[in-house]
Assembly symmetry: C2
Homo-oligomer: 209 residues x 2
């Protein structure tokens, strides 16, 4: 059953959707630098070079805009997780790939990710529920890889839930400094992070150096 919501983006023309995407990206930059609540509709109009009428024509509401920013990040993150699942391989290889994919998104969408990690409590009702479920779904992918590694004996006997939180924190927290223009690329960070983490959870030590 198609949504009755008149602002459903999928019912609009490609041109309309492209304009909307541009508004989402521009607004994400503002929200990231000042905060969601601290950024007024008027500022959004100025930044997007649009009047209030035109802006609302594209976003529906301020919270709708916030949700769109969240979706943009989660779409990319889940696509990365999907690629990893399709590639398969040893748990340690999958974990490293997950890190590559995640840091690539953080590096490519620094503003969106900032908003995502700071302002998710501002989502309400169904938007909040939908977001929480997607986020939880991603976290369970990480846990599943860890569980597989414990089962196969590649990883030592650890708490998959807690270890996933360690991994997620290590990677997600890069949102504070990992951006285009930084001296380090996503891969420059993902590789040493994987080395630390996988060495840290492997059941058998590797050869020295």
């Amino acid at each position: 059953m198609p949504r009755a919501d008149a602002s459903d983006p999928s019912r609009r023309s490609p041109k309309w959707q492209a304009r909307r995407e541009a508004i989402i990206d521009t607004s994400a930059r503002l929200f990231a630098s000042q905060g969601y609540h601290a950024t007024g509709i008027n500022e959004l109009c100025d930044a997007n070079d649009l009047g209030k009428g035109a802006l609302y024509h594209y976003i529906g509401s301020k919270e709708g805009l916030l949700a769109a920013i969240h979706d943009r990040v989660m779409d990319e993150v889940m696509q990365g997780a999907e690629r990893v699942a399709e590639a398969g391989g040893a748990p340690s290889a999958q974990l490293e790939m997950l890190g590559d994919e995640l840091l690539e998104v953080i590096h490519r969408y620094p503003d969106h990710v900032w908003v995502f990690l700071h302002e998710f409590p501002a989502l309400t009702g169904e938007r909040a529920a939908s977001f929480r479920e997607r986020r939880r779904s991603y976290e369970q992918r990480v846990e599943a890889v860890l569980r597989a590694g414990v089962a196969s004996g590649e990883f030592r006997d650890l708490d998959p839930w807690l270890t996933a939180r360690a991994w997620l924190g290590m990677h997600n927290y890069t949102y504070l400094w990992l951006k285009p223009g930084h001296r380090l690329s996503a891969r420059d960070v993902a590789k040493p992070f994987a080395e630390i983490f996988i060495r840290g959870i492997q059941s058998k030590p590797q050869g020295a150096e």
Copy 2:
């Protein structure tokens, strides 16, 4: 030169200061659950059972209250780092102690830490500068321990700055779920985290299992 600011807490009576502390703690809970900008002065009055006049008598301004919450966290965090520095010992032992101390603060002040990690961009002017400097000072303690471990040969040859970010992310990110009443205590988390991280950066592998 003593500050001319009439709202300088150190110039007030112990009773006044105690009341102010209570207001800070109660308000931190509100800010953590709804966000700083989303919480109005009226809500703060209700939660603290105070009128506007009385509330402003204690906090000076809303941003002053926010700064006080930040200070409460940073005071505790820096005290922990100080204890570690005084204890000394091998870099790996110091790193584990730093983790213990940090997670203890996160576990004990979940609301303050949440506010600290989410709302620091809302600080302006001198308050923002002072906060950034204290935070940076803590991060440099972590880097220094890593550098010492590399120098002594206990850790492999890694980038101290980047490795510190990995460590900080892993630990700070626990603010999302590490709270009193959770199944895990601060130590329950700090120990496995230290095992993962220190194994991950050691220059020589340990004996299996």
